[in-house]
């Protein structure tokens, strides 16, 4: 049964026709000593295709099981391996809790990638031993299903750094492939993800 108000269809065929906003929540994964958090198009209600032109991952209170480890991400471009070729750049700003002059913004070449298939570091050295230390931020992925263009991504996260710093990393890059990206995996460099959530949203364009 359709619901029609003043000639406008509000709901029909099991779906709401009226606009409910342009940020659409797709999936939330919650870590609990998890080896990885992985979003695959078509699995477990995940949508990561041409339904939306832009996807946003929100990383919320990611707490590593092992202190001072990095959080990483990689992308699947066909097959089952997360090994898309990537080129990226990274810079960061940081400030030490002791305010001892450790405050700067710098290029961080160690997390740049040059046509690499390995994981992209999101933020490093997370946690200094306390239960309240974690990472939060966001990752934007543009047109993952395009078979014409490379796939750009932008990341910004802030973490409680193991050297007692607030550390914010800015990463921009692209998967240098024209195959569709249909999976995104988040993983620690070593050890598991102890706790935290990653939420996937799609951004409507019409």
């Amino acid at each position: 049964m359709a619901i029609i108000s003043d000639g406008t269809t509000i709901a029909d065929a099991g779906a709401v026709a009226a606009s409910l906003g342009s940020i659409v929540h797709i999936k939330t994964l919650t870590a609990s000593s998890s080896a990885n958090l992985t979003f695959v198009d078509g699995a477990s209600s995940v949508v990561l295709d041409n339904t939306f032109p832009i996807y946003k991952f929100e990383l919320i209170n990611i707490h590593p099981q092992t202190d001072t480890q990095a959080l990483e991400v990689n992308f699947r471009d066909g097959g089952s391996a997360y090994d898309a070729t990537k080129t990226s750049n990274c810079f960061y700003s940081y400030h030490s809790s002791a305010n001892t002059g450790l405050a700067a913004v710098e290029h961080l070449s160690s997390f740049d990638l040059q046509q690499a298939t390995g994981n992209q570091t999101i933020n490093n050295n997370i946690g200094a031993g306390a239960a309240d230390e974690c990472l939060s931020g966001e990752l934007w992925l543009f047109n993952p299903s395009s078979t014409t263009f490379v796939k750009h991504y932008m990341i910004k996260t802030t973490s409680y750094h193991g050297a007692e710093q607030a550390s914010t990393l800015f990463i921009g890059g692209y998967c240098n492939v024209t195959a569709a990206i249909d999976g995104v995996k988040f993983i620690m460099a070593s050890g598991n993800i102890d706790a935290g959530k990653i939420k996937l949203y799609g951004i409507k364009d019409s």
Binding site: S19, L20, F142, Y174
Partner: protein, 206 residues
């Protein structure tokens, strides 16, 4: 016909009731560039564009912009009347980059892409490539364009594939130094035209 639940109007007169949550981001308009598109222009009150005091801020999501020629900036400019694009801006710009060959990486201020109370366009993406699989993606946000009290701040971040095969993460931030309401936003390439791509305008609810 209205549907009212527990005293709350869910919808009436062909629209959702004001008490129904619809998310913080509302899609307003999408423009699509085709071959030889010189400009992409959003003007309040034209072609269903809303760009006034309806929302506290506006976000332009820009994806897979493919330029007609190599090596040009993508620019934005603003108008109070839809025809004169001569408003002074004070802004800063910086970018991080890394080449696919690892031959050059840096974080640097981009002199020449900032404005010092000049009426010039605002560059928002960097040295873009027109290789068939290259493109640029990002966003521009502008706050309270209809204010007649304050200058109009804008921030942008773009991730692009550079003309010599590099990843460029480009930031431009500043303000339009006028207390007159901004009604029009125009996107254009510094040289030649757009080849393809989309720009979507969203309103951000307060």
């Amino acid at each position: 016909m209205a549907v009212i639940s527990n005293g709350t109007t869910v919808f009436d007169a062909g629209a959702l009731g004001s008490g129904v949550p619809t998310g913080g981001l509302t899609h307003i308009k999408t423009l699509t560039a085709t071959d030889d598109t010189a400009t992409m222009v959003f003007t309040h009150g034209t072609s269903s564009v809303v760009f006034d005091g309806t929302y506290d801020s506006y976000i332009f999501k820009i994806h897979n912009i493919h330029p007609e020629q190599d090596g040009w900036f993508m620019n934005v400019d603003f108008s109070i009347n839809g025809s004169d694009f001569d408003l002074t801006k004070l802004s800063n710009a910086f970018r991080a980059q890394q080449t696919e060959s690892n031959s050059a990486q840096s974080l640097a201020y981009v002199t020449g892409a900032d404005n010092a109370n000049a009426a010039a366009v605002q560059p928002i993406s960097f040295d873009s490539s027109n290789d068939a699989d290259h493109a640029m993606n990002g966003e521009l946000q502008i706050w309270q364009p209809a204010s007649t009290t304050f200058v109009k701040h804008y921030t942008s971040r773009f991730q692009a594939t550079g003309s010599s095969n590099f990843s460029a993460d480009y930031y431009a931030n500043g303000f339009i130094n006028t207390t007159t309401a901004i009604t029009t936003v125009k996107f254009l390439m510094a040289g030649a035209d757009f080849d393809s791509g989309q720009i979507s305008l969203y309103g951000v609810k307060g």
